[in-house]
């Protein structure tokens, strides 16, 4: 599957889903000024909401791979600019294409202040070959060396994602008057940036996906951009997807992918072929190659334009939005927060 690096992804990143989830998570039970029996205006905890996953060969050291998980849509606007203490943030690595994680980089955070304690581990110890040792420990907002090589940085950054969300939500009405609007310009996210020697990850061809969970209860999951957002149309399905495992994706969500593509006018054969590629939802990357999307995903890659082309079978080639962020060629690569 991962040789078929034609990542046919349309639409938006999980950020789109996250924004919608955030704002529709649970009804504010708010009533007239006259009443105060009503439960607060509470939303999904954005701190455990995954926005995007990136995986690319390090521009500063070709022997390294950079893995990035962004969380917390509109960080600081909709949710605090922190990680949820006690929650489990994971970057999962499939080494052999069986859609099961062989190793996971597991991050946990403590403290409720603006600067939190962060701990990085690799599990399971046997596969990681490190006897379960802590790989890094330090503070959010600082670069921390990783045992065995590499660096970790967690904290607030400019949101690297760019996309015309308004046009998407108006029924794929892209490029009104030839112009797009990057809804995410000037917004921030929380990011986990982990750079490690590619050899630690396994062979050169790996699969990557991110998960968050609380007390072993899954909260969110993402590999390639936008799979859940685009192909699952109800909160029931979106939740089932987030709580599920990649190994079951073909069984559980194939029909949603195929039906969505058919509804967009694609042929049955085309829809089937794409569904074969898109599920399970794992971002595949050849770490020996500096190429970007469709190989892994680099920060500057216009994944949306690629996805739109594929989904629409060439009818839509762009959302008329380009990257607005000043990425750097050195760790941690992301632009500073706005």
């Amino acid at each position: 599957m991962r040789k078929l690096v034609i990542s046919f992804l349309l639409g938006a990143s999980a950020l789109v889903a996250a924004l919608v989830m955030l704002t529709t998570g649970i009804a504010p039970r708010l009533s007239g000024a006259a009443d105060h029996l009503d439960a607060p205006f509470v939303k999904t905890d954005g701190r455990i909401d995954i926005n995007d996953v990136y995986a690319f060969q390090s521009p500063s050291n070709p022997a390294n791979t950079v893995l990035i998980m962004t969380t917390n849509p509109l960080a600081g606007v909709l949710s605090p600019t922190t990680y949820r203490p006690g929650a489990d943030y994971r970057l999962n690595i499939d080494r052999n294409g069986d859609a099961r994680e062989d190793i996971s980089y597991r991050l946990s955070f403590e403290g409720n202040g603006p600067v939190q304690d962060v701990t990085l581990r690799c599990v399971p110890a046997a596969a990681c070959g490190n006897n379960g040792a802590v790989l890094a420990r330090g503070k959010t907002g600082s670069t921390i060396p990783v045992a065995g090589g590499g660096s970790l940085r967690t904290g607030l950054f400019d949101d690297p994602f760019f996309f015309d969300l308004l046009a998407f939500r108006k029924g794929l009405a892209f490029c009104p008057g030839g112009v797009g609007t990057n809804f995410f310009a000037g917004l921030n996210v929380m990011a986990i940036v982990l750079e490690v020697p590619s050899a630690k990850l396994g062979p050169s061809h790996i699969g990557v996906w991110a998960t968050t969970s609380i007390d072993d209860q899954p909260a969110d999951r993402m590999g390639r951009p936008a799979i859940n957002t685009v192909f699952n149309h109800t909160d029931a399905d979106k939740n089932a997807f987030n709580f599920g495992k990649p190994i079951n994706d073909q069984r559980d969500f194939r029909s949603n992918v195929v039906n969505t593509l058919l509804s967009l006018g694609d042929s049955q054969a085309y829809a089937n072929a794409i569904a074969d590629v898109l599920l399970p939802d794992i971002l595949t990357v050849d770490t020996s190659s500096p190429a970007g999307f469709l190989n892994g995903r680099r920060l500057q890659d216009d994944v949306i334009d690629t996805e739109l082309s594929v989904i629409s079978n060439g009818a839509i080639t762009t959302d008329c939005v380009a990257n607005d962020s000043a990425f750097t060629s050195t760790f941690p690569y992301l632009a500073p927060p706005n």
């Binding site: 704002t23 529709t24 009804a27 039970r29 000024a33 029996l37 439960a39 205006f41 600019t81 308004l166």
Partner: protein, 451 residues
């Protein structure tokens, strides 16, 4: 204080309220409202002490800038509406509801299918007590998006207000199968209270308080969960626990009016009238809903300051007009106020009937209607609504007191004794106006033990 002066004041207030944000503008009639003794104003506390979070005012400004920049940005209009709804919760100003409604309307004009905007529209309907409309809107969302927790919560909330308690339970049960977060726990707690299981309600409310902290809830949100727990504790007569929890609520969101009112209730229940009056004065200076203004008046009354009590009572009608001008319905509070004070009893009955017609089967509407009918001497009909009000077995001292007085009047001494003693047993200090009266009536009926 002449009525005409009050009327002038009311009309002036009415005019400014449409454009004004702050409820500080509502003076208390005579002298200006007491300054806040250094307590932070609610607006100040909007600067939330949560890492990196925008204050409510900054949040509104953030989205306002975005819609100014791109007037076609329906998502930002929707979030702007959310900001106004948040501010309405925090300071209870009538204007924020109107602004929220306008922002939602604009969003839906730009994209009628944007689900979040539709759900905020349901929230605005709910805030304006258009519960049937809120139910319809949220059911529409749910039919388009099965599994939407948002929609389920609103369906349950609307059902509950409409007196459809079984349907509300069913919606909340479905909701709790999706998620067990604080908003869900608090809803289950509320329903448990209505169904007469205060210890279950308190347990759930305690869980909600803990969960809210884990979930990174906003200061106002956290304060609300503390408040719910405190109110449940107060309603069982546990004044010490309630006081502690009201203080926790104030700590979470300094200046929180509902927690201040709760502390005032505790003081009042302990007959610490001066303290209670001082607190309520702070409350009504910021959040002059009829319920709180009436409570302040009642405290003046029991403290022997009749003239000041009348001043407060005189303001209530004007305040009610203000809310009505912003399409916020306070009929039930007004009916209860009229009935409690033997004022305009015909209006009280009419208003309570109107509320009951809109929310048929709602136990609080039934209770107020029964009480207004009792006060106007329509005992037979009052009994029917009283039975409606008590049908869930709610352990609500005031409702039981109402039932006790009514049964006494129509010559059911056994039932009257039963209801009055249960009211006092649940919370011996349930009301500054009525706890003593309940005791006296019970005495004159003869104690249960002497039966």
């Amino acid at each position: 204080m002449s009525n005409s002066r009050l009327l002038v004041a009311a009309l002036a207030l009415l005019a400014v309220a449409v454009i004004a944000v702050s409820s500080h503008l509502l003076s208390n009639g005579g002298p200006a409202a007491t300054p806040d003794n250094g307590t932070a104003t609610v607006a100040d506390t909007g600067n939330a002490p949560v890492a990196g979070m925008l204050s409510t005012d900054d949040f509104i400004e953030f989205w306002r800038r975005r819609v100014d920049h791109d007037p076609a940005d329906y998502i930002s209009y929707t979030e702007l509406a959310g900001g106004f709804l948040r501010r309405a919760r925090e300071i209870g100003d009538v204007d924020s509801y109107s602004r929220a409604g306008a922002a939602v309307e604009q969003a839906l004009k730009l994209n009628p299918k944007y689900e979040t905007a539709i759900s905020y529209q349901a929230n605005v309907q709910f805030a304006r007590h258009d519960f049937a409309g809120a139910l319809e809107t949220s059911q529409r969302i749910f039919s388009l998006n099965p599994g939407s927790a948002q929609a389920l919560a609103l369906i349950g909330d609307s059902d509950l207000e409409l007196g459809r308690y079984d349907e509300a339970q069913s919606a909340y049960d479905s909701l709790s199968r999706i998620t067990q977060t604080s908003p869900v726990l608090s809803r289950l707690a509320h329903l448990a209270e209505l169904k007469g299981d205060p210890s279950k309600a308190i347990g759930l409310a305690q869980q909600a308080v803990t969960a809210a902290a884990d979930e990174g809830t906003s200061p106002e949100g956290q304060a609300w969960y503390d408040l719910q727990l405190a109110n449940l504790e107060f309603n069982t007569g546990d004044l010490d626990s309630a006081q502690m929890q009201y203080r926790a609520s104030l700590d979470a969101f300094p200046g929180y009016v509902h927690a201040l009112a709760g502390l005032a209730k505790v003081n009042a229940a302990r007959r610490e009238y001066d303290e209670a009056i001082a607190l309520y004065r702070q409350v009504v200076a910021r959040y002059p809903v009829p319920e709180y203004v009436a409570a302040l008046g009642d405290l003046y009354l029991v403290a022997g300051r009749g003239q000041e009590a009348q001043q407060q009572y005189g303001l209530i009608g004007a305040i009610d007009s203000l809310y009505k001008a912003n399409a916020i319905n306070t009929d039930l509070q007004m009916a209860l106020f009229f009935a409690d004070h033997d004022l305009k009893l015909d209006d009280a009955v009419t208003q309570a009937r109107e509320v009951y017609a809109r929310q048929p089967g709602n136990i609080r509407a039934a209770d107020v209607l029964a009480w207004a009918l009792y006060k106007s001497g329509q005992y037979g009909e009052a009994m029917a609504y009283s039975e409606q009000a008590l049908r869930l077995g709610t352990r609500d001292a005031l409702m039981l007191f109402h039932a006790g007085m009514l049964n006494d009047k129509i010559g059911n001494p056994d039932a009257a004794r039963e209801y009055l003693s249960r009211a006092l047993q649940i919370n011996p200090r349930f009301s500054v106006l009525y706890a003593d009266q309940a005791r006296q009536s019970l005495d004159s009926l003869g104690s249960l033990a002497s039966r």
